[in-house]
Symmetry: C2
Subunit: 466 residues, 2 copies
């Protein structure tokens, strides 16, 4: 559909402008050769796996605002120096720190059985161990209809359905409502705590963590716990049998005041237009249950390795290529907002921004949100990427990744190299997000696509702003 | 190979006896029709899924000797009554009870990171939280060479390799040595605790529990913890980088004295030779981390459903069909030994025994360990099972399943309907052994195979003893 729409727009351009566009060479023969060479090198290189192995092994989990995230920033700085970036720096910001702490949750009626759960980001601790009956809600819609103060002394459980696997991750936003806003209704109804079915597409005994939404500037006053899909299935079956459900819950999760975080900025300074910035990146922080391999060690590895391969070309591209390792993404895009604020005056010089933050499976599609002429450039880039199995997608697709949202909102053009996300929500925010889940060949395909496309945009003079 | 061997044995039988065998009808036309009908009914029936759903949902985890296992016995008794067995009873025995208790294990050097572990069966508790350096052993062989008292104040970690997936489960016995006897060497060397790589073929963040071997009548004086494969990979990578490893460990697992367990016995009384018993079964207990769906709720469901389908035939088979739901298998085949002892005088009347305890995937092979004439009967049964995709395997394969070992050792003939075990050790003894892992069609294929083969043996007059 997007392809058709774009062709139609092209057809109504005046003949004059079409002739001008056709006369221009958007990508030179030499640029194309360089891009092809970058792809071939990337496919044979182990650099991406080396980076994500090093990050997950030597730093481990790195919750936004934690001491581990600080170690990760220093790691990122050293990595940038070692890989030949021209400048490397950390830009700090402050943020409120939420700590998961210890949790114990078990079914106590109809019998004793441990549940596999985890606190959701922003949840309050239990004041003392909660022992309470459970009120079952089939989905978030059922809970939103609950009356004020009707759940006093009870624990609410929001069931729902396992996410259907999808290449694009469609369905996550909707499923995620129970995680995001469920607490507001449970708290309004006076519940002692809220338990929700994890938002994930796997049937493993892992809870999926993730941030809740604040209500204005207010966070939950109650503990909120996500349990694994098989545990939620279990509660559903017991509920459907008419068994009374009760749980015991002790959770230490809480806010712990202001701390420092930061973004790591690695630049390859442009040879002709150093002030123009092509920004790529991933997020350096991870949830603390796994080691953040797929989310988002992969994105850090893909974008850093891609830029490092470009750095080995005989000559720097015309524009500056900037790799940003964003801090504190998981806990609210805090690094992204800090970056957009700290660089607000200079965002006009950000000619493009894109992030890799959807796992480590192969890229299948290139979408963009740039002006019509630049769209033709992206079309040409897509042709060059086609040996990687990548097809051209929509040319009016907003958003270049979560950490790009704040700067895209201020007019920075974006592309996105869409990854196959079919298995992404199996691992997303679980203890199981570990290095072994990354396929080196798939990671290398990502790096090849980033290296070629970012090189071509950075070496181009085409303006991308709408 | 086994087929060839059997044919050779057949060839050297005297012409006279071959003629006699050929002249005998091992399976009548009516029996064959009944068997075929049983298979067709089983493939269309939901009974197996109903049983394993009920067991895992209404009882949940059921550690040998626990209150939950007692509830499971009562559940089994009621199930037998409801399904039309002629007699149902519980035969109790006493056993020592080991309780897992709470565990916390985390890496403390080179940095803080929780590890996903569980105590191994028979392990001692920590007296106080252990904070100690880790000595890395590449495998069990490396640890067996360690000198006495050379690990004082240290924690030993036995690495090893992930189990290769295998249809037959080959490799489990060897991999399992680190779980079984590792503690003896760690304790001899004075280690404060032992940590081992889980014995499993999955790369998920689940530890695999399981019983250790006692040393004569002595159990470990130290805590012994299995960690998940990804956690073990992590420690290996850090070790290979030359990083000093240290852990913090607190474990409450311990022996808690004598308790009661029991076997549930459900009989379909034979119409002509009620004293002759064809015994099938599974084990009712499970490890406590999962809900024991695949191990061995499936075996309970398969064998009970198969017998229940036979019970619906117009006439009972000639021999008695006995379903035994063994207690306390996981913790040392305690129900199996109790059964063999309690029925010692009558084992001569057990014409055949077999157990389903290798998951819920499809049966692919029928093996046996019976006399040559009975081998021909089993050959004929295999032909009848062939529409289920089952092939005939060896005719001198000892052992009909773990709980059959004690009675097979006393001369009871066995067959085994070998299941595809390729994914079995992904789930084995983990929190992830839950109902969602069972494929209803595969379970039904198992029930079809059991129903047909057990019916044919129970309705036969062929003696099976060697």
């Amino acid at each position: 559909m997007q392809q058709l729409k774009r062709l139609t727009i092209g057809a109504v351009l005046s003949i004059f402008s079409v002739q001008i566009l056709a006369a221009q060479v958007l990508i030179t023969k030499e640029q194309k050769q360089n891009a092809t060479q970058l792809m071939q090198t990337a496919l044979k290189s182990d650099l991406g796996m080396e980076i994500v192995t090093s990050l997950t092994t030597e730093i481990g989990p790195r919750l936004g605002g934690s001491e581990a995230e600080k170690r990760a920033r220093n790691w990122g700085l050293k990595l940038g120096e070692r890989l030949g970036f021209d400048t490397t720096k950390i830009e700090e910001f402050t943020m409120p720190f939420w700590d998961r702490g210890h949790l114990h949750i078990s079914l106590t009626s109809p019998y004793q059985q441990d549940l596999y759960g985890t606190a959701l980001g922003g949840a309050a601790p239990t004041k003392e161990t909660i022992n309470a009956n459970v009120v079952y809600f089939r989905d978030i819609h059922a809970l939103t209809e609950v009356k004020d103060n009707s759940l006093t002394g009870k624990v609410a459980f929001i069931d729902g359905d396992m996410m259907v696997k999808s290449q694009t991750g469609a369905g996550y936003g909707q499923a995620n409502q129970r995680r995001r806003i469920g607490w507001q209704h449970a708290q309004r109804a006076g519940a002692s705590a809220l338990v929700v079915r994890s938002v994930g597409s796997d049937s493993h005994r892992f809870p999926h963590s993730g941030m809740m939404s604040s209500d204005g500037d207010k966070w939950a006053d109650i503990p909120v716990i996500a349990i694994s899909n098989p545990d939620a299935d279990h509660l559903r079956r017991l509920h459907n049998l008419g068994k009374p459900l009760a749980i015991s819950l002790h959770s230490e999760s809480k806010w712990k005041g202001e701390v420092s975080s930061g973004n790591v900025i690695l630049d390859l300074i442009g040879s002709e237009k150093p002030e123009e910035i092509v920004l790529i990146g991933g997020h350096l922080d991870s949830w603390d249950l796994g080691t953040g391999a797929v989310d988002d060690g992969a994105g850090i590895a893909i974008t850093t390795a891609a830029a490092a391969l470009i750095a080995k070309l005989p000559k720097r591209p015309k524009r500056t290529i900037r790799v940003v390792m964003f801090g504190a993404e998981e806990v609210g895009l805090l690094g992204a907002f800090a970056y957009a604020k700290q660089h607000e005056a200079n965002l006009k010089n950000h000619v493009l921004a894109t992030e890799s933050d959807f796992g480590a499976q192969t890229i299948w599609q290139l979408v963009s949100n740039v002006n019509p002429k630049a769209t033709l450039l992206i079309d040409e880039i897509a042709k060059i990427l086609s040996p990687l199995g990548i097809v051209r997608g929509g040319s009016d697709v907003a958003g270049g990744g979560p950490d790009i949202i704040p700067m895209a909102a201020k007019g920075v053009p974006t592309i996105r190299l869409n990854q196959n996300g079919r298995d992404y929500f199996d691992l997303h925010h679980t203890p199981d997000d570990t290095l072994d889940k990354i396929n080196p060949n798939e990671l290398a395909q990502n790096i090849a696509a980033y290296a070629a496309s970012i090189y071509l945009i950075a070496d181009s003079e085409v303006e991308l702003k709408p």
